[in-house]
Symmetry: C2
Subunit: 447 residues, 2 copies
Amino acid sequence: MALIVQKYGGSSVADAASIKRVAKRIAESKRAGHDVVVVVSAMGDTTDELIDLANEVSPMPPSREMDILLTAGERISMSLLAMAIANLGIQAQSFTGQQAGVITDSAHGKARIIDVTPSRIRNAIAQDAVAIVAGFQGVTQYTNDVTTLGRGGSDTTAVALAAALMADVCEIYTDVDGVFTADPRIVPTARKIDRISYDEMLEMAASGAKVLVLRCVEYARRYDVPIHVRSSFSGRQGTLVTSAATAVDPTAPRSATGSGQHTDQQSDEQGEGAVEQPIISGVAHDRSEAKITVVGVPDVPGKAARIFEVVAGAGVNIDMIVQNVSAASTGLTDISFTLPATDGQVGIAALTAVQGDIGFESLQYDDTIGKLSLVGAGMRSHPGVSAKLFAALSTAGINIEMISTSEIRISVVTRADHLDDAVRAVHTAFELDSTEDEAVVYGGTGR
Amino acid sequence: MALIVQKYGGSSVADAASIKRVAKRIAESKRAGHDVVVVVSAMGDTTDELIDLANEVSPMPPSREMDILLTAGERISMSLLAMAIANLGIQAQSFTGQQAGVITDSAHGKARIIDVTPSRIRNAIAQDAVAIVAGFQGVTQYTNDVTTLGRGGSDTTAVALAAALMADVCEIYTDVDGVFTADPRIVPTARKIDRISYDEMLEMAASGAKVLVLRCVEYARRYDVPIHVRSSFSGRQGTLVTSAATAVDPTAPRSATGSGQHTDQQSDEQGEGAVEQPIISGVAHDRSEAKITVVGVPDVPGKAARIFEVVAGAGVNIDMIVQNVSAASTGLTDISFTLPATDGQVGIAALTAVQGDIGFESLQYDDTIGKLSLVGAGMRSHPGVSAKLFAALSTAGINIEMISTSEIRISVVTRADHLDDAVRAVHTAFELDSTEDEAVVYGGTGR
């Protein structure tokens, strides 16, 4: 008997029929003897419909009102889910973010959780009831104003509650079977990853894997909450995200770990030399970035720092940076960096304003780039990984424009229209392709 | 400069365009220098749609969850309205029932207000902001569970807030121009009543006039909150409900009271003898009742009391009662009473269970009755009113089945299919018909 926090996204509760199906699943967990706390998102397109309504009445809705509006969505789904569970003969009570004790700062639209005091949830558990909690929302500490947590907020609610309740596991139900070695829409032979560490999952999420948001994984790592990413449409085991130092080799047959139980045991069925192979989690990709090149920067100490100061001052997060070697004849250099494409115009405007001050020649903006990231704890001690990556891309005829590396990740920037080919080439080169005819279920990005 | 509480029903905020229109109206009140607190219902059919969803997931939704579900409706309308007002350059903040301090008992679905502590609303007013409050909802005192107030709940929220804030007036905006001398769909010559007392309005509401619910008028009378019922589609003066001892004669030309100001002044322009006429507010009608006749009750003391004890014990409210004169030869009598038709089966079942005990012969059930009520403070001192009423009905060939009277009301039961004719006949007999070609606006019953 365990305490399980389950999170269901909007596509899992899109209509009455889906809600009844999810209720059945929750009832099964409860009947199996577990204590169950459920975090739920708004039904299907509810949030988008509410945003449309807001835009109809005001071009710039105040963020406090926007938060009150949007939280209506979870209020509807949570009460309907509680009703559906009660209808199966199992006690259920729904709770708003406030009632569940999700306390946040007052940054409406992107509030951060500052405390979780789930005494009412503990009471519900003690009374043998399933507690249904509205995801994505909280309440400010002193003024009791309703806030929303921003993108991926419901996942974060689930992990935060699991941490506060010291739950055994936080199950994130989505419309895919788990975390994959690459996006199966691009790489049909992508495999589900059985187990991955927080660090690797963080790099995957930061590099564009959409199944879990960065913030939720960060929260889980900080409080050591095991996350189980799995499909709400099947009973299959999904991907377990834990503090385990090394990931299970994704090429190992999944049946090797036995009856659905996760263990740290490595499979040795992959042939000679396999144990010396670097262990790679997967290949992530990201099309949401753009590149700014500052052309003709005087090659004088402090100029580069000044550029990044200005961009940071405009609230823009920079990802990768490349500085070309200065041409000795001119004393000028070019500096390129990537940033979210949505911040592109802000970045250009901020730099243009200081052009005279810094003395660069011009700015180039390019939003037709793609980023590929190879993630895996194994590459820490295997210097051959980047060489193999570059060779694979070169063989596929793909040009590399920028490179950055961390302990467990290598990212490269390519032309956007070469990105899919690049992902497939690298996935194959690192032997991540599925060798069996596995029934991979993938229904789009998770909500 | 006054403090005004305005309440807008669901039909007034049915879509984005309506919300913007209402926002403009609120902005005008604010720009005129008044402090404005707004109570709003859920948009159009939202509540019905949510009820449908609940019924899809559960045949018997728990009432606590139903309340959480339904309150999502006001959360949406209140935040959209606040956005629309802010977009007009006027500060606005929305508040849930809880945030507005509407404390109720825990009778989910039909909670009673036990206290209103609107400190946040006072703060908003002090900051020169328009406060938008979710109608129909409150929160329990100790457990902070969300409750709904039941039918007419938003009107009651508005009056309760007006009382707590000591507002100068509570304006109830609806889709009709005010309270009429009769339902204009039945009596096209019905006139809008300019002013009516709480007592008369209570009798009108209790007798089937749907524009204000009984409970809201009771609350207003208890705390002496002036109610102004008016149309959200026109700028016209509506009906003022106050503690004034006598109603303004509805046959007086409305222009007689000057530039839209209400006074207690009576018009004397209605010709000879008019001042001696009883002053009648209007003719209400009700089709929602049924009649049970208990046939062959032993004419022994205590039997009638026992019948009504049993019915009351089943939670059924009895309205009118008639006991026939006992036939001396048999020692048996018949007792008829009316009750809400929705409680008909409950009443029949309760009585059937004690048939042997009480010893009556049989039960008759009739749900094809109609009730007409003539309401007016004037009839207190005018014994001729009932004679005139009966004569009018008799002339129209309408049979009277039951009669009951109060100080300011006479009600009669007729066949349901004679009710419209009865209302028209009585309306004419008491000279309530409009004599001018007034632009009466009537768009259906208020929500």
